[in-house]
Amino acid sequence: MKSGLATALTIARKDLRTELRTKESINAAASFALVILVIFSFAFNLERDEFYAISGGLLWLVYSFAGALIVNRAFSRELPNDCLDVLIASPAPGWAIFLGKAVAAFLLLLLVEAISLPVFGLFYNIRWTESLGWLVLIILLATWGMTIVGSAFSAVIVNVRLRELMLPVLLYPILIPLLIAAMGGTTALFQGEPLTGENFGYIRQLIGFDAVYTALALYMIEFILVF
């Protein structure tokens, strides 16, 4: 178990180092997020107050699109030069490889989200610095959910034709409960309500989703990677 975690950490560091050296997917995902933010500004013609009602939804749409890009790379990055086969053939436990990649994708997606959030606040005049603690909690929980499920499906479709199209088709329906909770909670925060009392249900839903799907993905990844 300990060596497994150490392996996961090594693989996470490898993925992060590779990505931070070339910055390919960070650039692509961040640019995509910014472009979407701009385009969405033309989608609605809302008064400032009305806009708050859709602010959370908009933010998480942007994050989930960027997330699909980042998470897609998690396993497809290993395809050239048969690196994926080498990883699978190594004595590293399957769950450790998967966990390492998921953690790396999680951190990269957090980076892209951190870049997009101030821009979002700027373009749409959303005050996001109040209740920052709750916002960070939602972002961490929901991003983990997106990356763990996204990395699992990335492993599933790594050898599929039209990979970039298939991942959203598979991923987004599964993420619906997570996105509902994240969007609802974020909208509540932007409208000034703290996430206590009834609103805490959003956090509970996120924690439940994360717990169930992390366990499911870690348990099942052995079957996927070693076929």
């Binding site: 599933v156 479709i157 088709v169 619906i176 099942m220 079957f223 076929f227």
Partner: protein, 225 residues
């Protein structure tokens, strides 16, 4: 012989369904609040039952495939999921028509409809991704994985229909609580009819999947010769 039995099964299912329709039109009085449209129930609810039953069978055979690596299980999984998805589509469409009649809207984003649509999309994803994987073992393994992941929504839908205090227009199940009388016969007959049809369609699709595997092995043999 087996084919004839399958076709007979399907035709029997169709006949039972037509009988049910006849029964509804001649014997059933208009439902108290909803007029005759309330009897859409007899096709709407059994369709959901069929979908859920087939998805559950697919879950079991998917797990069995991952454990035993026997391709028969994979064939059963895809047959069940394809037919099941069609039944869920019937459920969604008849529900939408019913909703237009009763509530004036074709769709609403409450918990029950959203989770059901999500279920449909999840298994649609299964059906979309499966042909894109060229190699047979990979395809079967990945499909099993997706089927298991997608099944998480099935109990969610069943809970959503039964939970009280959920803001929704979709009625709670009244059949089980014995709220309406006189519906037992067409309801049970409706379930039997769809069960027969589901079985027949599933067997046909299963046979086609086995034929496809035979084609694959013939292609390999041809390649080797």
């Amino acid at each position: 012989m087996r084919e004839k039995a399958t076709y007979a099964l399907g035709i029997l299912g169709a006949i039972v369904m037509i009988w049910n329709l006849h029964h509804i039109f001649t014997q059933m009085a208009p439902e108290s609040a909803q007029g005759m449209a309330g009897w859409i129930l007899f096709i709407h609810v059994p369709a959901d039952f069929m979908g859920d039953i087939l998805y559950t069978v697919a879950l079991v055979t998917s797990i069995l495939f991952l454990v035993k690596k026997d391709f028969t299980y994979d064939s059963i999984s895809v047959a069940c999921i394809e037919v099941g998805t069609m039944f869920i589509l019937v459920n969604l469409v008849t529900g939408s028509i019913w909703g237009k009649n009763q509530w004036g809207i074709w769709w609403t984003w409450d918990l029950r409809l959203t989770t059901q649509l999500m279920k449909f999309l999840l298994y649609l994803g299964y059906l979309v991704v499966r042909p894109a994987i060229a190699e047979a073992t990979q395809r079967a393994t990945m499909s099993a994985f997706i089927a298991i992941f997608a099944y998480a929504d099935v109990p969610l839908v069943m809970m959503a229909i039964r939970l009280p205090n959920v803001r929704t227009q979709h009625p709670s199940p009244v059949i089980e609580t014995g709220g309406i009388n006189d519906v037992a016969v067409p309801f049970v007959v409706g379930i039997i009819a769809q069960l027969l049809m589901a079985l027949a369609l599933m067997l046909v699709r299963l046979h086609q999947e086995n034929t496809r595997r035979e084609i694959d092995s013939l292609r390999r043999e041809l390649h080797a010769l």
